[in-house]
């Protein structure tokens, strides 16, 4: 096993959760999810040699690749659908869901739906915010100013809060 392969698998193991979350936010359909997953992993594999630890943290680098690919994937989605060979399995597999809390699942599923309804940039902003990134980090990752990131987060939080309130009011969740 080459050093690159070991590093690649290690990187994926360490960041599988965030990759799973980003893919699920940007694509709802399982086939599209697998397609986006492939695209992200290919880009990570290709760029792995050029990753420079002195310039950025590995997690920041992964976020950047995954978000950039997701946003551009969404744009090219129609074109790609015509030519990509579908793979029936996923590299990021959810296994053994026994024992998971149905209420939590329901809430999470609703949160994903709310985030999916946002535009591509706002999706990225809220994912990074929920992942605990600072306004400065979000700004740097997405190429927007720190204050713009803050404004966007406040606006998105307000929208999501309203949606959760409405759902709670009508007893759906």
């Amino acid at each position: 096993m080459t050093e690159k392969k070991e590093k690649f698998i290690e990187v994926l193991k360490d960041h599988k959760k965030i990759l799973f979350k980003i893919i699920n936010v940007y694509c709802r359909d399982p086939e599209d999810q697998r397609d986006l997953e492939q695209e992200i992993l290919i880009q990570i594999w290709k760029a792995l040699d050029s990753f420079d630890e002195s310039k950025s943290k590995l997690s920041t680098w992964i976020y950047r690749i995954a978000l950039n690919v997701s946003i551009s994937h969404y744009r090219k989605d129609h074109k790609r659908k015509e030519r990509t060979i579908a793979i029936d399995e996923s590299i990021l597999e959810v296994v053994d869901t026994n024992g998971s809390d149905p209420a939590l699942e329901n809430h999470i599923s609703f949160l994903y739906d709310c985030i999916r309804a946002l535009d591509n940039l706002n999706k990225a902003v809220i994912i990074l915010h929920l992942e605990g990134k600072s306004y400065q980090e979000i700004g740097e990752l997405l190429g927007i100013s720190e204050s713009n990131a803050g404004t966007k987060i406040n606006r998105i939080r307000k929208i999501l809060k309203e949606q959760f309130k409405l759902k709670l009011k009508y007893g759906i969740i």
Partner: protein, 201 residues
């Protein structure tokens, strides 16, 4: 919301697995995708060659009372048949290939072989199309407007001069097209396979 997201993260920590076996197929699928695109172009060209052969044969039969036309048209059709047989042989081994059961290096070799044979066939393909057109156009003119260009040596000479000019003008474009379809796309496929090969060793 952040708590909910954090709980989701904890749950994923327990339930999410990385399917390492599937990772091998990633670039391979992309490479195969590129390769199949080119193969589809080649198969389409091959099938068209057979249709052109049938067209020429039909026309030759229809004009059998006029040997000037029927023989030349049939000869043009035979050239097309030759092209069809060559491409049938060239594409058959790839259309029947199970890419997932073929070792990456063997697949790389096969793609490079296909690239070389397709590019080298490019000039012959162009020549065959030119001969086919040169033979079928006079027959079509005769049928459609009763114009016999073989009747006047001047007309026949001008016609064949036009055919030669057409060949000279379009030949560089044809070479570039073959280079783009077979050269660039297949090189990309071979490059992707190279990455798979790196990944596997």
């Amino acid at each position: 919301m952040q708590d909910l997201w954090a709980d989701h993260g904890k749950q994923l920590e327990k339930n999410l697995r990385l399917n390492e076996a599937l990772l091998r197929r990633l670039n391979l699928d992309k490479a195969v995708d590129e390769f199949r695109e080119v193969l589809a172009v080649s198969v389409h060209g091959r099938n068209m060659a057979f249709i052109y052969f049938l067209t020429s044969s039909g026309l030759a039969f229809f004009m059998k009372s006029e040997p000037d036309f029927s023989i030349t048209v049939f000869l043009g059709g035979l050239c097309m048949l030759g092209s069809f047989v060559y491409h049938l042989k060239n594409t058959r081994k790839f259309t029947q290939l199970n890419v997932y059961d073929t070792p990456v290096l063997a697949l790389q070799k096969a793609i490079n072989g296909f690239k070389i044979s397709s590019i080298s066939a490019g000039k012959y393909d162009f020549g065959i199309v030119a001969v086919w057109l040169a033979t079928i156009i006079p027959a079509m003119l005769k049928l459609a407007v009763q114009k016999d260009i073989y009747e006047s040596p001047l007309h026949a000479g001008l016609y064949f001069l036009a055919v030669i000019l057409f060949i000279l003008l379009l030949y560089p474009f044809n070479l570039r097209m073959y280079q783009r379809i077979y050269g660039e796309k297949l090189s990309k496929a071979a490059g992707l396979l190279d990455e798979v090969s790196q990944f596997e060793h």
